[in-house]
Chain length 437, copies 2
């Protein structure tokens, strides 16, 4: 049986998973591929520890360059992460004519603009299904299954850590810090959780998917990013009672001229499928002109789901190699020369409904003052709830607005915050009501 | 720009959609493919009617053979349906060395066993994404994205007509016949709805997906099929109150030795994502050893969603042609020689929970008699509800059982049905509690 030889950079959690999956499912992969995927070399800084996986003699190495320079290796898999060593190894591998599979969203979001053209020029694949949504085949679906569609929007829950934290706050009413500590104890969150909870990991994925969906040049610069650390149980409780769930969403829309690209917590109606995505699971809904809205759902992270996506990419490339063909599909979905510099609209220009929570002094005239300020900015209220419960000496005032322009809301908030009857910072959560299926 | 030329058999709803999508999204398809997909010829029995789509001069023909015999046509699309003319045209096209795209589930489920080897022998593709789940990329996902997984199960809502009918009964409490009439009025159900509501259409799709997922030879013979015509509003109401939704499911499991393959209405917990799939939408959840459970969701039928899936297949083939490569992926996911004759276990051997509704005479001793019969067969009750509401002179008795063997339940039902305190036929609905995500 013909062999396709793999080199693997990085034996962390996912890298070990890839090695394990190649061992356990060797036969079924061969039965489907018609060739053997052989892990020829795997590099890591420390190869003395117990990986819990059997490696053939001579596979483990601390010398990454021995993978780059091995002419027998057809495909390299980069699972080191980050934008330093990983970038250099990918560049060297491409230069050596090797196909590359990576799960490195940060690298692609920041340097995809240079890496994809380089791969194209060398005639090799740069595959990245595992970089967004773990085992969810969102890259393949956008690039292949929706090839005949004009894609106009997608909405994703793309960070399992954030979704786990929000689910625990929702189900148990615990504060953010306690839910975060729980996520860390369960191994979902990193010791430094900022990349996850501040929304940057989600923004990386949003940049990649926007590029694929619309043919826009990848850019992180203009994506609005807001994390979940400001969300309190009291916000989630209010949302639940009003028929909403709070999720950290990647929201992207394209009207043919400019795009919206934003990451923030949002209230979505409970009837929407995305609101039922709990715990560490991920989901993405995509809207295309022919398919309408569709959704993919599954484990967005974790050793084996991510390893599955990595090997799916490797098999795809192996099939190209076996068929003797060149790279079949443009890395970013559009052929060279068909990528556009699509501008991202500033967040000030979006229109959406808002949830607003203020801590107000319990005195006459407060509500009329605040609703007056909102009314002056053309923001009309959908509902107002004031409870008697005291929160730091003040009472919480909850408001839901009809869709309004963000710039107007910002100005209103500034003015409201300056009132002496307001204590603390207002909490603002956007309401997304995607056209439901 | 290079052209890939298509021939189209059948200008019904889907065929017209394909022609329309080729017109409206010509540019974006070319920007992604790097070549033009040109509809060179399209055949139908009647080409005089207004299709609402612009065809280039000379495209329309009543002579299907002119497509088969046109050496310029690379890919034919069969959208006639049925197992007569469609089969002959596909066979002739394969013999002429043309790649084939079809949405014809009945044909594949019944004759796939012959057609796939024939295509393989000629070195052409026989692609069929549109045959299962409309625009949902379930074929591609199983065949490509899950290539490194042992697939152990899938559960699908694969018939939009049935799901529409069940949703309307659930939401409006109307009887089956009225919901069916509504589906017909909305254009969801055929004038003869038996293929849909009796579950046969779902069984065709189950046969195709089982083959893909496990590498089993396709067979309809041993699939247990039961439709939704026996479901009453009273059953759905009880299910709702007990925390379940009733759906027509395609259920398939594989333990490495034998498979379960069955189509029947089932009660699923409301917390399961599948229970939120409403109206004419479809969804499939798949379980693989690496990915765990994942789910795909979208429009399972309709002109444009199905046309999108047809053109995705055509573009995949066009990419193979442009790359100069041979057929890259085995039609049924496994290489020649790796398909197995996996037996389907008889329905009597499955174990599941049951909902049982009996119409009983309101006399002393009824419940003890019935529960005694169930207990004798090792069937234990989870809950029993008897209401005072009369139904044809008798009162309804509702029971939910713990998991029990189907053969035991059948015998118990026989014995219960023979009691003179029972009127009418017992209603039995299986309870599926998939390992939830």
């Amino acid at each position: 049986m013909k062999k396709i030889r793999l080199g693997l950079f990085g034996l962390g959690n996912i890298g070990t998973g890839v090695a394990r999956l190649l061992n356990t499912n060797k036969e079924i992969i061969s039965a489907r591929l018609g060739a053997e995927l052989e892990l020829k070399r795997a590099s890591d800084l420390d190869i003395t520890r117990d990986f819990g996986v059997k490696f053939a003699p001579g596979v483990l190495t601390t010398d990454s360059d021995s993978i780059v320079n091995d002419p027998e290796i057809d495909i390299v898999i980069e699972l080191i992460g980050g934008t330093g060593v990983a970038k250099a190894l990918i560049e060297k591998s491409i230069a050596a004519g090797k196909h590359v599979v990576t799960a490195n969203k940060a690298l692609l979001a920041k340097h995809g603009k240079e890496l994809f053209p380089t791969a194209l020029q060398k005639g090799v694949c740069l595959s990245f299904e595992a970089s967004v949504g773990g085992c969810i085949p969102i890259v393949k679906t956008i690039r292949e299954s929706l090839v005949a569609n004009r894609i106009s929007a997608f909405t994703g829950i793309l960070n399992g850590t954030c979704n786990y934290i929000l689910t625990r706050i929702t189900e148990e009413g615990i504060p953010f810090d306690e839910a975060l500590a729980g996520a860390q104890a369960e191994g979902y969150a990193e010791a430094d959780p900022a990349l996850d909870v501040e929304g940057h990991d989600t923004a990386h994925k949003l940049a990649i998917l926007s590029s694929l969906a619309y043919g826009m040049e990848m850019s992180l610069d203009d994506i609005y990013v807001e994390g979940i650390s400001g969300i309190s149980p009291v916000d989630i409780e209010f949302a639940q009672n009003a028929g909403y769930t709070i999720k950290l969403l990647a929201i992207s829309k394209y009207d043919g001229q400019s795009a919206e690209a934003r990451v923030h917590p949002a209230m979505i109606p409970k009837a929407n499928m995305l609101s039922n995505v709990s715990g560490s699971l991920n989901a993405v809904s995509v809207t295309g002109d022919a398919v309408g809205e569709m959704m993919l759902y599954g484990y967005g992270a974790g050793m084996m789901p991510t390893a599955s996506a990595v090997l799916a990419d490797a098999v795809d490339i192996a099939r190209d190699i076996l068929a003797g063909g060149a790279t079949r599909i443009p890395g970013l979905s559009f052929m060279d020369g068909h990528m556009n510099n699509i501008p991202i609209r500033p967040i000030d220009e979006i229109t959406t409904g808002y949830y607003l929570r203020l801590a107000v002094m319990d005195r006459p005239g407060v509500l009329s003052k605040i609703s007056g300020i909102l009314g002056d900015r053309n923001i009309s209220l959908k509902s107002v709830v004031q409870t008697e419960r005291k929160l730091n000496g003040a009472v919480p005032l909850f408001m839901l607005t009809h869709p309004a322009r963000e710039s107007m809301m910002k100005k209103a908030i500034e003015q409201i915050s300056a009132l002496d009857m307001i204590s603390g910072r207002p909490v603002l959560i956007r309401i997304e009501e995607p056209e439901s299926l």
